[in-house]
């Protein structure tokens, strides 16, 4: 998946958690919790959705890397690229 495809997939997942969120309008480097006004429970729900829909599990040790939209996309991109090649 390209980064653009990952962003599109994340937009669908986030629509379930923060329906009014517009990913195009947020600062990609801003923490998602602040940018989308979501809490820890929502964030965990997002990671569950990422695992279920994209097949990537984020360990708790990596939470810091995926705190922002750009961080999450950068984290997912190599992992999803590898899978596509399988």
């Amino acid at each position: 998946m390209t980064e653009a495809e990952i962003r599109a997939a994340l937009a669908k997942l986030l629509a379930r958690i923060a329906p009014e969120a517009d990913l195009a309008s947020i600062d990609p480097g801003e923490p998602l919790k602040r940018a989308l006004d979501i809490d820890s429970f929502d964030f965990l729900s997002l990671l569950v959705a990422v695992r279920d829909e994209l097949g990537v599990t984020v360990s708790e040790a990596d939470y810091g890397k995926v705190a922002s939209l750009q961080g999450l996309v950068s984290f997912l991109a190599p992992r999803l690229a590898d899978r596509r090649g399988c």
Binding site: P19, K33, D39, S40, F41, L44, L47, V48, E60, A61
Partner: protein, 358 residues
């Protein structure tokens, strides 16, 4: 024969609109069954019955706005009275019908009939022509409900505030170790540890767990924590997590997984809205350093948590950097004094230093 009444789902609730019956006359019900759905300022709520029995009569049709305490149905076999019901206004049937037609609040009418009963003439004289307002949009309703409860709190409750800083190093290390072995959805949030620690600390200082009613503190044995959940449409609700002191950490996490989505979808149950014996609000996710809460009456305490941030921390003569949490207690000075509040915060901090014991 028991009367099943419109329950009070909080100090601020005055009426609700019956949306739907889930039972019909002849149906057998048992304690905890959801038998009706009611629209309130806090959203649509599923109403539970409090005793076993058989529904003998449905008295209110869906769509009607009904004041708290009015009988909705009769249930044979147990006192099905919902908690916190006010005394029914004495009135003649004709007065009651006329009041309903004209949208007159019987409680506001001075009765001149036998034993002070409100008569048809009394209602006519009251000259009120208030009509039932259309159902408010939930967001507006929630705002109004919060306004009513918080205004009452500030008007009636002499708050005092205490704050402490808690070293969360051990608690977070415990969480990290514990969560590493768990599936994503089972991972514990820091809030789970905080809730359990609050519950156990309340066991040590039970005066903070209960209600102030009729100039007296009513301590509660059960510890039901009202957990503040913000809604995406605005406002918040504080459904109760029941018996938190007796639940394991995974059980508390499971409660949150169930409760938070239902709260945000407007699918809470009546007991969850009316049972809280204390409130916890956690605003750390929003970057707040310290929370100075407003007590939800008739409760007597609210515990607030801010963001966990790394700070300089001196211990045993050594200076280091630790993840530090600000915890505050807002308490009702009619029920407790600062010394008891201080004991509570001390117990809370101590419990969080021993996370394996939570």
């Amino acid at each position: 024969m028991g009367d099943f009444r419109m329950p009070s789902l909080g100090a601020d609730m005055r009426e609700g609109t019956l949306l739907q019956w889930k039972v019909k006359p002849g149906d057998r019900v048992k304690r905890g069954d959801i038998i009706a759905e009611v629209a309130t300022d806090k959203g649509d709520i599923e109403i539970e019955v409090f005793e076993d029995g058989v529904v003998t009569e449905i008295l209110v049709a869906p769509g009607r706005e009904v004041p708290v305490g009015e009988v909705l149905a009769r249930i044979d076999g147990g006192g099905a009275v919902a908690p916190s019901t006010p005394e029914r206004v004495r009135a003649t049937p004709a007065a009651r019908r006329l009041a309903e037609e004209r949208g007159v609040d019987l409680a506001s009418v001075r009765g001149t009939g036998p034993e002070g009963a409100v008569t048809r003439e009394d209602v006519e004289k009251a000259g009120q022509t208030k009509t039932v307002e259309p159902r408010k949009k939930p967001a507006e309703g929630i705002r109004l409900a919060i306004a009513a409860a918080m205004a009452r709190s500030n008007r009636e409750i002499p708050h005092y505030y205490l704050e402490t800083r808690i070293d969360m190093k051990r608690a977070l290390a415990y969480l990290a170790e514990n969560n590493a072995a768990l599936a994503l959805e089972e991972r514990l949030l820091p809030a789970v540890l905080l809730l359990k620690a609050v519950a156990l600390a309340l066991r040590e200082v039970p005066e903070l767990n209960g209600y102030w009613i009729d100039d007296a503190l009513q301590k509660k044995e059960e510890i039901h924590i009202g957990f503040a959940i913000s809604l995406r449409k605005g406002g918040l609700v504080t459904p109760a997590l029941h018996d938190v002191d007796r639940k394991s950490l995974p059980e508390i996490m499971a409660l949150l997984r169930d409760l938070i989505p239902r709260a945000r979808a407007g699918r809470l149950r009546s007991s969850e809205l009316s049972d809280g014996t204390v409130t916890v609000t956690n605003l750390g996710d929003l970057g707040v350093a310290t929370v100075y809460g407003v007590i939800y009456p008739p409760q007597v305490a609210l515990v607030g948590f801010g963001k966990i941030v790394e700070q300089p921390w001196a211990e045993n003569g050594m200076l280091g950097v630790r993840p530090v949490l600000s915890a505050t207690l807002a308490a009702d000075h009619r029920a407790t004094d600062g010394a008891r509040g201080a004991l509570f915060l001390d117990a809370l901090a101590r419990r969080l230093q021993e996370p394996a014991g939570l």
